[in-house]
Symmetry: C2
Subunit: 445 residues, 2 copies
């Protein structure tokens, strides 16, 4: 267990990072510009680097009906230049400054970030504020970039049976909510995305009052706020203030199964999704219990699923579980197993089901405590990266959690009991809430 026990120094960093009250620096600061831009500054003096992120409170689940993929398409277009800066200039500058940049689109948010030396922060803010309002929507840019996205989908999904199974399972799990639609979008809807769609979407969501600026690093909060005022402060709010329209899933009643058979499949797998509450739809206790349960059930080689199916029976070569807890609406809890040679997913399934069902009656108190320690420790390690630190705060705020939720997280996880785990396991890991997936080798052709 050596590798998951945090060193004392890290533990102290963790507390410092999460509370901002280690005495060595200013606390985490949260403020708001007049135009609605929310600002969070996270002191992190360990390295002479600053992480600059802008989080927009819109993700693929906010894509208008029939325009799936548009959040992700906008993420692409954000790199295609503005009226003031031609395509590629921003990226070239980041690179020339020895920095890094990236962006990602999730179900609930879209985020952009750069990592540079602290004295370049203002320049990053100028560029980022500029593309928040002055993006170039020339048809000459939009149409070729749509082709890039189509190609991305072709590469990632259309030629990958495993991705196809994931999409089909999510579509079966979420019968009503847009979490069932792939982030990248359905092929035929990406094909239909137009310049007008992109522009309407940009005008609706790319507005300072829909964004959160997260700056982590060796910076003074007052400096960051001042810089934000002279850069982002010039952006006029124009976002659609209407509430995110998120239909709620009906109560699940039917066990569902999905299978994809393809000649390209080399390794069949057995997968399972359950519809479960997220940190926002459940009380924290239920969401945290599901986090611990995923770790206990399927977090690595000491987990219950791995021990039972791989080490004890040998009928699987891998097994695990995960929980997507940070989400605005009801979310997914997943378990999976990779059958050993000669064992089909269908043959493995009864044993897999028994392993899931027996988890809480078979694990020791010690295993539960180790799971909690592991979860917390993994987060501590991830905080070594300033990017992860900023990401934890940004994603939490973007889905509507509070700084206090983040700060309390380790003690909340510690407080989870065996009864909490047994309760969520019994309540949510039921066949009625489930989709079972088989990835199979198609040998008919």
């Amino acid at each position: 267990m050596q590798h998951v026990m945090p060193a004392a120094g890290l533990r102290s960093d963790f507390a410092a990072a999460l509370s901002g009250r280690d005495g060595s620096g200013p606390p985490i600061s949260r403020s708001r510009l007049d135009n609605g831009l929310e600002i969070v500054v996270i002191p992190d003096r360990r390295v002479p680097v600053v992480t600059h992120m802008v989080w927009y409170r819109n993700g693929s689940a906010d894509d208008p009906l029939g325009q799936s993929g548009i959040a992700h398409f906008l993420e692409h277009l954000m790199f295609k230049g503005t009226e003031r800066h031609p395509a590629g200039e921003f990226s070239k500058v980041v690179s020339a400054l020895g920095g890094q940049e990236n962006a990602f689109t999730s179900f609930d948010y879209t985020a952009y970030f750069q990592r540079v030396a602290p004295h370049h922060l203002e320049r990053m803010m100028e560029f980022e504020a500029d593309r928040m309002s002055g993006l170039n929507f020339d048809e000459a840019v939009v149409a070729p970039e749509r082709d890039v996205v189509l190609e991305e989908r072709r590469m990632r999904v259309e030629t990958d049976p495993s991705a196809q199974l994931s999409e089909a399972m999510a579509a079966s799990l979420f019968v009503h909510h847009p979490y069932g639609i792939p982030i990248i979008g359905w092929m035929h809807e990406i094909e239909g995305l137009s310049r007008k769609h992109a522009l309407d979407y940009y005008r609706r969501f790319y507005s300072p009052d829909n964004a959160i600026l997260v700056v982590a690093g060796d910076v003074d909060p007052a400096d960051v706020i001042r810089l934000a005022e002279t850069t982002y402060g010039r952006n006029t709010p124009h976002g659609d203030r209407s509430e995110r329209l998120r239909p709620r899933e009906p109560e699940p009643r039917a066990a569902r199964r999905v299978s994809v058979a393809d000649p390209k499949v080399e390794q069949p797998t057995l997968q399972r999704l359950y519809l479960v509450p997220s940190s926002r739809t459940a009380g924290n206790r239920e969401a945290h219990a599901l986090e611990v349960l995923a770790e206990l059930l399927g977090g690595g080689p000491t987990s219950h699923l791995y021990r039972t199916l791989v080490l004890e029976s040998g009928r699987a070569v891998n097994a695990g579980a995960w929980y997507m807890g940070s989400a605005i609406d009801e979310t997914r809890f997943s378990a999976y197993a990779v059958p050993a040679a000669g064992v089909s997913p269908a043959e493995l399934e009864p044993e897999f089901d028994r392993a899931i069902a027996s988890c809480m009656s078979r694990v020791s108190e010690d295993a539960i405590e180790r799971s909690k320690t592991r979860l917390i420790a993994e987060t501590i390690y991830s905080l070594d990266s300033q990017g992860s630190l900023a990401r934890i705060y940004g994603s939490a705020l973007a889905v509507g959690e509070t700084l206090e939720d983040v700060r309390r997280w380790p003690e909340d996880i510690r407080a989870i009991t065996r009864d909490d785990l047994a309760e969520v396991a019994q309540k949510f890991l039921t066949s009625r809430r489930s989709v079972t997936g088989y990835l199979l080798k198609d040998t008919s052709c």
Copy 2:
């Protein structure tokens, strides 16, 4: 086969009804009022009765996101009175005149009809035009009626495992399109329907330019149009002219399975849905081929599925198939089998699959011809009812088909060949496009 061969008299009636050109009366007339109301008059002098229908081009698939069930809720509210006529008066008048009335909500349309003696037609039009614009939306009416709908759902779905399986299968078949949402709505969304939702919906859709008036009976088209002008003509158009927003399904890639187990189940069943084109998304030839295929595969005791599974092997006690061809968007083709005592749905499934797969290679030319004759004959018989006659035209026009499509239907069905059938069977009845459902007895409690 005696019972499916139409009598010469009926055949002539059929041609007359479909073409309106039997020489004995005026042809079917189609016109439009200035306010956009479309009018179709179908001469039918067989009985001294008139059928008066109003079709609105909005059904449950047009329910705004998060407000599932509102089309059906409006259908209920349409019986709750207007400013001029209190709740129940319209129904009382129809009944006092010896008439009949009803209403129905489908995926693509909502319709209201009365059947009365021809000289009462004007009175029906007055009432119907009145509730097209003057509906009562007092909270005292809306809230109790919502409870009525909730009770209807409880009775029809919540306590019926078979209805739950149907809902879950449709939700799995349509991963993106609202045909996957039940017409009556999801329970938690019906609960949320407010007076404001209902009023907004009514204002958007209940407008003369969104409606089709269909009058069948012993009437003169000129008289009907004159009456329509003095009644419906007073309604002001105010509908939302925006196109119906109907997302297209992604290309299906995964075979899906759904099972519902319940102690109340007495008779397990095996069900299958395939995503297939409708009359509007396919060319007529494909849709008509699917109609014939459903009849050939599962239309009654001479069909291929029944013969194979019930008469030959005896492993099922019933089997059949149907196709919901008249729809705006991609639709469902269904096949089912009821296993014999001691046979589980899972045990029956391989044989069921083989029967579906072997259909086109095993049926005779004669069986194909008989299926087409049967289909056409069933429609002829249904035309004996004036209500069915009006309904065929109303539903066709409401989903965007033309009078010519209806007129040509018998000859189009006749023209379908074995090759057409083999082509649609191979193209659409594939596991990737399918959802398989098991209704099972839960014996665990």
